[in-house]
Symmetry: C2
Subunit: 677 residues, 2 copies
């Protein structure tokens, strides 16, 4: 279709979403879009993808998310699994010795443990996944050079308020310079010790006639373009916070050492020479984070030409003595200055968003950066999709800043405490007030572990999280509550093991149709769908059975929320999927005993055998005890509404149709025939 | 290098191994060769790979094997997992009802359960794996047309006694004809109801000038070319046995039915209309094996044009009544006559071998065919490799027939009993002697399950299996024993939970260096290496510790079997890898406390952190209790020698260097510098 100004609306110059930056945050977002048929472009100023170094730590929660996109297993197989943390401190003679062993992942918080795999592989898995599900291509060596926002179009979510000019760089321009004469890749060009080259790249590209230029109009734009975000600068938003005086070096090496815990994650505090963090990695590599100096007071720039792998190694050797440490192979190295900053705003009119390092910078040692960045766009992705498809009210988009800016603030607080404890000199004794108490450090480490798993995230009350309290206080200050008359509050006492606002923890359940055990989370694929998980209790209890029969009747009625919010012509489970987990005996019930809506019939494929589960003993994998773990009474049951990102929106009575209806009606839009895409 | 007759020995016309047939058996063999750098060609007369139908059942043991090649996880993710078997029989009124539920995989026999995934996907995974590890390409539409064997060269394993002419077919010739007018793929062209087309293909190809022809010389040739094996015919070997009168149809459909157990594996015996086996599959498919008729007495050929999917469905509908059953989508179908036959010989002078359907045919319903076929070449592969590399005496090759022909005989016996019970009419009462007792059927099913898991295989005594008894009696009659003076006998009482001749079962152990839990089997990759697994017991016991210190000293001595049998210039673990699993507390021992040979030092990579394990509690995955499960006394220990296919060769005292030495010396060849390849 060609409009009156001659623009072809279907061509590459009009997109639903323009993503700037193809790091983990940008890739996660493009991945979301690829699953849900959203017209998307993703550009990155760098000409090549990352092959070494950069971020590596992956939280349990990140693995859960990647698994919901069917790429978690690729990470799990290749990654180094982090099992134990060893703390090393000076003894009374100043010699380092192992003082503690701690589980790296708190047992029970997730079905995954924390792992380490470098960013380049994660990006590879995303690229494979995006290709498999769409024709979106990552455009490298392409950067935006101008930005215009037409505020008059901002309220019409079918319109294109964003105009961006894109420059294509020559290969030479798009390839970052390495330090002179070095065979090993270094990451200094991305480090905060290096100057930003974005403006130079834009100028060079404009000078260069070979540079291709085009204009793109977008409904949404997302800046995933790092700590020096070009998008953030266009918006005039700021990162608020400070840098510290600590300079850190990073070495990725295959170590040759007699230090006994080199394959453990270690925090080593020497008496007088600073600290090393040891992160064992895939392919026999070990990453060392080494404190180099605490000079350059006043925030002055360090002369990066003076930092070399040899200097970083020598620092490590002093800290780890009397053990020896050397290497023949260095894979990558870099240096950076710690700073903790958070963006003041995450969005312009819910049309342009910032994510990842563009809105939070901090120390890498807690292994949080790549995770929180990907989780930003994991949070944002399904919200953009549901608005772009016309399924949800745009007010849902406000929850992005409310939820993720609050997380960024928590992260920075955590990182500030953690970095200070890690960078400090160990206290010589209880009277040494300038030193850091190693007991305090251990306590912080253990507490930090829960935070670091990513499973402790608890989103505040909002129109998509039905819980008590002030939406303003529980988030970053943005008002994201439902109108009071529409507000639904969860009945927490029906599922005392669940927390509304947190991701649903996983237990094993058995498929009713074939007795196969599944982790509940494995059923919650990231495909943009909401889920109503009905826990009807023991179905041999006549009362429970009658309750779901009645619920089934209301759900299939012509005006039910399921019917109303599903575009006509689409499958009945395409917007809200209903899963059932009953308790009691699997063999006392047949799937077809349940009302049809719980296992919908399809005229060419028969009954749906993949929606009803049971909390029972498996032949080979034990008993998941999901009712017990979730704190649901099998004689009463409960229902749970899950967001497309597996966070718990609502908990209520198993058959409380009215509250379910009211919850969804607060932000979902009644649908006509499926023609909006 | 060009020899005197002008033949380039490095070119494609001289190969170590020529594989005829690229089904699962041929692919498994090519996969082995790809891992170990053996020059190989693999050809198949069919022009396209299989996309639908064919074999689908995968045993636990097959998954273990595929996992040892790092492709098991791909099967595990895509396959349908088989959890429960439901038996349906007529009640007193002749109406079918569920009489029993049985675990499909006996709990505890393996870390995998049985799964179903069609042959085409397995072949895909092999192709990916072969490509990743070698430049071997599967040559399709290529078939051998002449065979010559120079017996005078058979004893020199560096020479090429085999000469074969290969014809390349045109695309049309290589594409099998489907039944007229059908949109659904059928498998009749591969069925034993169809005539063999190999000779026609050869003739057509020779007539056709476009057909490319070439002559290949090979050290080894393996016929994996199916029940009508062209290779077998060249050798003049025979399949011995009978066909039955039962004709079976197979339908792969997405069923539309109210039969409650359609996603379970079911054996349904109707009172008067025969039997159906239900095999739920991947992608919502269900396979039905349906008994069509028991006519055509005297082995006459059935008119296959009379067999259609509609006829097969109607038979199924009669059996499954009063439940209804229909479909809109049929993926594939075929029909076959059950026959049980075993090859009389599996090898010509240990230079030409037969494997898979070429030496055993039977009913498909027990899901054994693809498994036993792949396991044939899994057994053969490493033996050919070790002889081709000059590491082992060629007598090792004799154990292929001894071990695998015995398995084929066992399989046929199993299948005979199982098919008879399945095909028969249910007995009306205890006086009904022509009918089959459903109790007897259930017992046979349960017993058959152990056999069907593939984990019960127990290879007889031989020069590579050090156990009591007659090698002739325990195998197929071939003499494969060591000379009496060299014979070593295992001390079974040191590991009462292990059976010499069986594959080692798996338990979880923790890595000493990083506390990560691994299944022992995950450490036993199929890379052609033998493994000495030392269980030294509790190393805080001074005596145990001293014993492994002494063992370590002998293992590193200049004349040790490890040193002697490893080519000079190769890594010390390249022929025999030493793994250690100690008992007692992980945290009381450091890896570097153990003698170097147990964690060898590499000058650029430092210590080897991946060879020492401990039987201890993990943080997240429980305690493997490997000493208890293997029946090894932690105060005494034991050592175990494993073949490259994970079968147990020998069990002895932890430090019984002399027996280890004698065992290996019976078939391994002392090495010079590594120049033989």
């Amino acid at each position: 279709m060609t409009n009156s100004t001659g623009t072809n609306r279907q061509s590459k110059d009009h997109v639903d979403v323009l993503i700037v930056g193809a790091g983990p945050a940008g890739m996660m977002l493009a991945n979301w879009m690829s699953r849900c048929g959203i017209k998307t472009r993703i550009v990155d100023k760098r000409g090549t993808k990352i092959l070494n170094g950069q971020a590596d730590g992956l939280q349990c929660r990140t693995l859960e998310i990647l698994d919901s996109f069917d790429i978690g297993h690729r990470v799990w197989r290749e990654a180094n699994h982090m099992i134990e943390i060893c703390l090393w401190n000076p003894d009374e003679n100043g010699r380092i010795r192992r003082s503690n062993r701690i589980a790296d992942t708190i047992p029970g918080v997730s079905r995954f443990t924390q792992v380490v795999l470098h960013q380049g592989r994660i990006e590879r898995f995303f690229i494979d996944s995006i290709r498999e599900h769409s024709d979106i291509e990552v455009e490298r060596g392409v950067l935006p050079s101008s930005f215009d926002f037409d505020k008059s179009k901002a309220a019409d979510f079918n319109d294109y308020p964003i105009t961006v000019a894109l420059q294509t760089l020559s290969e030479e321009e798009a390839t970052p310079q390495q330090q002179n004469g070095s065979a090993t890749r270094d990451g200094l060009f991305r480090s905060n010790l290096a100057a930003d080259d974005t403006e130079d790249l834009i100028k060079a590209s404009k000078r260069n006639n070979a540079g291709h230029s085009e204009v793109v109009k977008a409904k949404f734009m997302v800046g995933c373009d790092g700590a020096r975000s070009w998008v953030r600068k266009q918006l005039g938003f700021n990162l608020i916070g400070d840098s510290t005086d600590y300079i850190w070096g990073v070495l990725d090496i295959i170590p040759i050492t007699n230090f006994p815990d080199i394959r453990m994650r270690c925090a080593i505090h020497s008496a007088d020479h600073g600290s090393v963090m040891v992160i064992p990695r895939e392919n026999k590599l070990v990453r060392l984070y080494i404190q180099l100096q605490s000079t350059t007071h006043g925030g002055g720039k360090v002369d990066r030409s003076k930092i070399t792998p040899e200097i970083i190694l020598q620092s490590a050797q002093r800290i780890i003595a009397p053990y020896n440490l050397t290497y023949e192979y260095c894979d990558w190295w870099t240096a950076y200055q710690i700073g903790q900053r958070v963006g003041d705003k995450f969005s312009l009119d819910e049309r342009v968003f910032l994510a990842g390092d563009a809105v939070h910078t901090h120390s890498p040692k807690a292994g949080q950066g790549m995770n929180v960045s990907m989780q930003d766009t994991y949070n944002l992705g399904w919200k953009i999709i549901s608005v772009a498809k016309g399924l949800c009210d745009p007010r849902v988009l406000k929850t992005y800043q409310s939820e993720r800016r609050r997380i960024a603030q928590d992260l920075i607080d955590f990182d500030y405490r953690f970095s200070r404890l890690f960078s400090g000199r160990p206290a010589k004794d209880v009277m040494d007030e300038e030193g850091i108490s190693m007991e305090e450090f251990k306590d912080a480490f253990e507490k930090g572990n829960m935070f670091a798993s990513g499973t402790a995230v608890n989103y505040g009350a909002s129109l998509i999280v039905a819980k008590e309290g002030s939406a303003v206080e529980q988030g970053d200050g943005t008002d994201v509550a439902s109108a009071e008359k529409n507000r639904v509050i969860s009945r927490n006492h029906l599922a005392t093991g669940l927390n509304v606002g947190m991701r649903i923890p996983s237990c094993k359940v058995l498929s009713q149709a074939d007795a196969r055990p599944w982790h509940l989370q494995e059923l919650l694929k990231s495909d943009g769908r909401w889920r109503l998980v009905v826990f009807p209790g023991d179905l041999q209890n006549r009362n429970n059975f009658n309750r779901i029969v009645k619920l089934g009747e209301r759900l299939v009625s012509k005006n039910s929320f399921i019917t109303r919010f599903t575009p006509i012509g689409q499958e009945i489970d395409s917007v809200i999927e209903i899963l059932t987990v009953h308790s009691g005996s699997r063999i006392k019930i047949d799937l077809l005993d349940l009302p049809d809506i719980f296992h919908p019939f399809h005229k060419t494929q028969g009954w749906d055998y993949w929606k009803v589960f049971v909390d029972d003993e498996s032949y080979h994998e034990g008993h998941g005890q999901i009712y017990q773990n979730y704190g649901i009474d099998p004689q009463r049951g409960a229902s749970v509404i899950l967001r497309p990102d597996q966070y718990i929106s609502w908990v209520g009575e198993a058959d409380d149709y009215d509250d379910m209806e009211q919850f969804f009606a607060a932000f979902m839009k009644p649908q006509g025939p499926a023609s909006h895409l």
